[in-house]
């Protein structure tokens, strides 16, 4: 099984030189720690920063400089600030090359739910609905099952939808899957995880065909 850091590390392999990338809160944020040193990737934070740098030192902390997770961050040479409408202009017009998001549920048609549990939790969608409606390339980072052991990779969503048919790839603690018109297509397994375990943990349509590799770092 993959740890949260390893899920992020695996997703980082999808990064390409020159990419503009938006990382969501949680596991997606960790992807920034694994950007290969031989490529240039620019991080977009939807609160109004392109070219997000690492967390600050104690001396560098600036309350006016945060990321979309409200964490203090820094700038890099070439960074730029802008207002929220300009930020979402970048997103809606498809200029962000890769979006990495967390999810509560994903179904085998690529629909995603991650903003609300009716009657229990109301946090809101933040920028997620804008991102999933416009991004060409969305990877979801998530645990394969919830705390009760139930699958989060479903045939039909049980929670309110955030966006339809938008998720292209899912990386979980168990495996890597592409979402195609046929369903969840298993591509890679986490070390020590069997196809049977993935089948048992996946409620949506799972396709197991062709070569399935084991994730290595």
């Amino acid at each position: 099984m993959l740890t949260k850091e390893q899920i992020a590390q695996r997703i980082a392999k999808e990064l390409k030189d020159g990419y503009y990338v938006n990382l969501g809160i949680g596991i997606p944020t960790l992807v920034a720690n694994f950007v290969p040193s031989d490529i240039d990737v620019t991080l977009q934070s939807e609160n109004g920063l392109l070219g997000m740098g690492p967390f600050p030192s104690e001396e560098e902390i600036d309350a006016d400089l945060i990321n979309a997770g409200k964490q203090t961050v820094t700038t890099l040479p070439g960074s730029v600030f802008f207002d929220s409408a300009t930020s979402f202009a970048m997103i809606r017009s498809g200029r962000v090359d890769l979006t990495v998001l967390g999810a509560m549920e994903v179904n085998d048609k690529g629909d995603i739910a991650n903003w609300k549990i009716p009657g229990k939790m109301v946090k809101g969608m933040g920028g997620a609905m804008d991102l999933v409606a416009s991004a060409q390339n969305i990877i979801v980072a998530m645990q394969h099952t919830n705390r009760a052991g139930e699958s989060k990779l479903l045939k039909e969503l049980s929670l309110p939808v955030t966006g339809l048919g938008c998720v292209k790839k899912v990386v979980t603690n168990l495996c890597v899957m592409d979402i195609t018109e046929r369903g969840f297509e298993l591509r890679e397994l986490a070390p020590g995880v069997s196809v049977e375990e993935v089948k048992a943990a996946t409620a949506g349509t799972l396709i197991v065909e062709g070569e399935i590799t084991v994730i290595s770092f």
């Binding site: 006016d64 945060i66 979309a68 409200k70 961050v73 609300k116």
Partner: protein, 229 residues
């Protein structure tokens, strides 16, 4: 014409029960601290607040929630405020949650004289309920309308007495959009200077959008997630 007022209490003159206010800021970053505190003191109630977030329990808009001055919040993300969640789940508070980009564009549209626009965000979700859907180039979009608000309350880094504003770093966020959108816009600034002292090349919000301006005091600038390397 003198736009300068002495303090927040003077700035909020005319804000009365039941009005709709826009409040700049993302999380606690770039919020109009002085103006919010003055609203709490004034006791004005039944407010509709348009703001990306709702503060935290004891700071920012959270202070207005604690004193039950807010009837309705229009936001994109409210996860940092336990009192908000309690009031919402108990039915004391109305809330309209919107995609963040839609929230921003509804401000921008209001400030740009554009009554409505189409966005793909929220298509097929609860957000689209009751809204016109149209297809453009094979993709579905929903119609969103410009916000109507009585006052916009914004916070800038520097401003001049004419009302020109410059924002700092990510404290810019919704502030310049809301500054354009309010029927009356109140700007509080960390540093108020004379006209001519700000380089016209680097002004973010032109003075024409600002009606009242004052120099704020005692900025706390609370940090929500203090992360260091």
């Amino acid at each position: 014409m003198n736009k300068v007022v002495q303090n927040a209490a003077e700035a909020i003159a005319g804000i009365t029960d039941g009005m709709t206010l826009m409040l700049g800021g993302f999380g606690l970053c770039g919020i109009p601290e002085n103006t919010i505190n003055a609203l709490v003191k004034s006791g004005v109630k039944n407010l509709t607040c348009i703001s990306n977030n709702a503060g935290v329990d004891d700071f920012g808009i959270g202070l207005l929630l604690q004193s039950k001055q807010v009837k309705k919040m229009i936001s994109s993300y409210v996860g940092e405020n336990a009192e908000f969640e309690r009031q919402l789940l108990s039915g004391e508070l109305e809330v309209e949650l919107l995609p963040q980009g839609t929230l921003a564009e509804r401000c921008r549209a209001a400030g740009a004289g554009i009554p409505a626009f189409f966005t793909p965000a929220g298509y097929g979700t609860e957000v689209a309920e009751g809204k016109e859907v149209r297809e453009f180039n094979g993709k579905q979009y929903i119609m969103e309308k410009a916000f109507e608000s009585d006052y916009a309350l914004v916070k800038a880094w520097k401003g001049d007495t004419d009302g020109n504003l410059i924002f700092k770093a990510t404290a810019r966020n919704f502030n310049p959009l809301m500054a354009m959108a309010g029927k009356i816009t109140i700007a509080e600034v960390e540093e108020l200077v004379q006209p001519g002292e700000l380089d016209p090349n680097f002004i973010h919000t032109p003075s024409i959008f600002v009606n009242r301006i004052f120099q704020g005091t005692d900025y706390e600038k609370r940090i929500e997630q203090r992360t260091i390397r």
